[in-house]
Subunit: 340 residues, 2 copies
């Protein structure tokens, strides 16, 4: 398909910490500077000092606003007039829609028809045009290419873009700054991982301050493309495109731009089951009083289910999003109530 | 009953802003300095600038830890050896239990048997001895007096105590500091109100910095003792002791110590229905990604249901707690889903 518009963003260079710092300047005053949360119970239980970065409290309910706003703010005004296009099951969708709304420009989001209802509704509420497609029978890339051809708009990739990765990295930058300010050093970092954009950004910002920190990607079962890619040293693909409750993390493979960072910097790739993710959602409800979506809870799930030994260590866990339908949330609460 | 041990705390003086500042020093490093949260959607909808103080993120899941820790840290070491006693349906219980645990002392909490299960379990998990009583047939004061006589312990009143009120006031102090630091002034404040301890503390700290701020108590229907007391100028009692979902706010009447502050400083007393409180719980789930209990959501409910006009104003809403059972939370989510 040589005549198709390629679905990557304008900027495929490998971002650096300087790009993360520049992103922090751009998003200041627009993104929420989320606090670090800690739980005395959790620290006592694990014999560790755990800091949770609740990106569910971020504008649009996930970290995605950071990258989307950074990418759009870096576009030239002429390009902005033609709008932006994105493909997303919902969190990047809302991030792009909210950022586009702030710049008073058009956003078109190609979303699977089976995405969580709350994500579709909220993307529309943010003024975006939503084009729904059937995951089984339609090709979202073709749909996006058609929109791009019609509008002359700019594609904002959810993770394979230097500006997006740099924007997501500001979550790690804030956490690293806060931990350093408390006079502490960071030993382990757990990040929820889909295409690896947040993960790569967090690697840049955390390693800038704490070069010895061990950073782990965390993925849901059957979507462990990052874990396998890290082992093999080359980008691996998932055998399936659906079948996990962690809708935010169902990417086909690690993005190349982020992987150039992740494969050198990650200490390993962890994998949790959907049941462990749901259990972490319920634990966060009862103990943190935070609403997490399953995909936003996998890093916490890895911690709670003992995937790494954190005894005596200082740990950062990124809680990446909270855009969950009431029905799924109730499922998580009920699963946790019944004996395992 | 002249031979009974009176159930008030040691210190019934009227606290001042100096006491709140002293409390801030005592709780530093033990209590969570909760952030201010804002919602772009909410601000746009109301045409206001709203700051939410999420005390559900506080240690033990409610603001109560602040006052309990302040009161216990002010006790002399000899008295601490004999332990503390408290009566509470659950939030003060956990606050006192957690504070006592940090001082390695015994806490005995007299709790109604029908308190939310999560509150009873967590109070026990914090090392406290829980004495359950039947609301209908037993007198909790008599039970507490018996424990005090046996142990020689100190009673920590949930709101009729200068140290407790000063401790709760630190929530307002932090919010006022943050709002002043952002270069803003505060116009309206909404506080969830039971016995009025938090409300009185917030009056002291907010008015110290913003003397013209209008501060409102918010209570559930049929437990509007503060609203009626403000109107009449004398302490009024509720006709009933149960029958609202807002278990945290079912006090018989405003405490005298706090009322000495509240009646002079409050701009008025607002009242919301249980349905409005549940709807606010559901709204916070979907929009803030925060878990609130119904009693911790009444101030937000007053805002969302338009009890005061906030157009063009800067508003602080205290979200006072998030200790809610999964069953009640599911009820809130389902109530919100069904058409009104």
């Amino acid at each position: 398909m040589s005549d198709a518009i390629p679905l990557h963003s304008a900027d495929l260079k490998i971002p650096t910490i300087a790009d993360v710092r520049a992103a922090a300047g751009r998003i200041a005053g627009q993104a929420v500077r989320t606090p670090l949360i800690s739980s005395a119970d959790l620290n006592a239980r694990l014999g560790a000092r755990v800091f949770l970065k609740p990106e569910c409290l971020q504008r649009t309910g996930s970290f995605k606003f950071r990258g989307a706003y950074n990418a759009i703010s870096a576009m030239n005004p002429k390009a902005r007039e033609r709008g932006v296009v994105a493909c997303s099951s919902g969190n990047h969708a809302q991030g792009v829609a909210a950022a586009a709304q702030l710049f008073e420009m058009q956003a078109t989001i190609v979303m699977p028809a089976d995405a969580p209802q709350t994500k579709i509704e909220r993307t529309r509420a943010l003024g975006a045009r939503v084009v729904a497609y059937d995951r089984a029978s339609e090709d979202r890339d073709l749909i996006a290419q058609k929109v791009l051809a019609e509008t002359g708009g700019t594609f904002v990739h959810p993770y394979n873009d230097a500006f997006v990765i740099a924007g997501q990295g500001t979550a790690g930058l804030e956490a690293a700054d806060d931990i350093a300010e408390a006079g502490l050093s960071l030993d382990d970092v757990l990040v929820c991982t889909g295409g690896g954009g947040l993960t790569a950004g967090v690697c840049l910002s955390v390693h800038d301050r704490f070069p010895d920190a061990r950073i782990y990607s965390v993925e849901p079962e059957n979507f462990d493309d990052m874990a396998r890619s890290l082992k093999s040293g080359t980008i691996q693909f998932n055998a399936t495109t659906s079948g996990s409750l962690c809708d935010a993390l169902l990417t086909p493979s690690p993005g190349e731009t982020g992987f150039a960072i992740n494969w050198k910097r990650l200490a390993g790739g962890l994998v949790v089951s959907d049941a462990q993710a749901l259990s972490a959602v319920a634990w966060a409800f009862a103990n943190l009083k935070l609403v997490l979506e399953p995909g936003g809870a996998v890093a916490l799930a890895a911690l709670l289910s003992g995937k790494i030994d954190v005894q005596g260590r200082t740990v950062l866990v990124v809680l990446s999003g909270g855009n969950v339908d009431a029905g799924m949330f109730e499922t998580a609460l009920r699963t946790a109530e019944s004996p395992a």
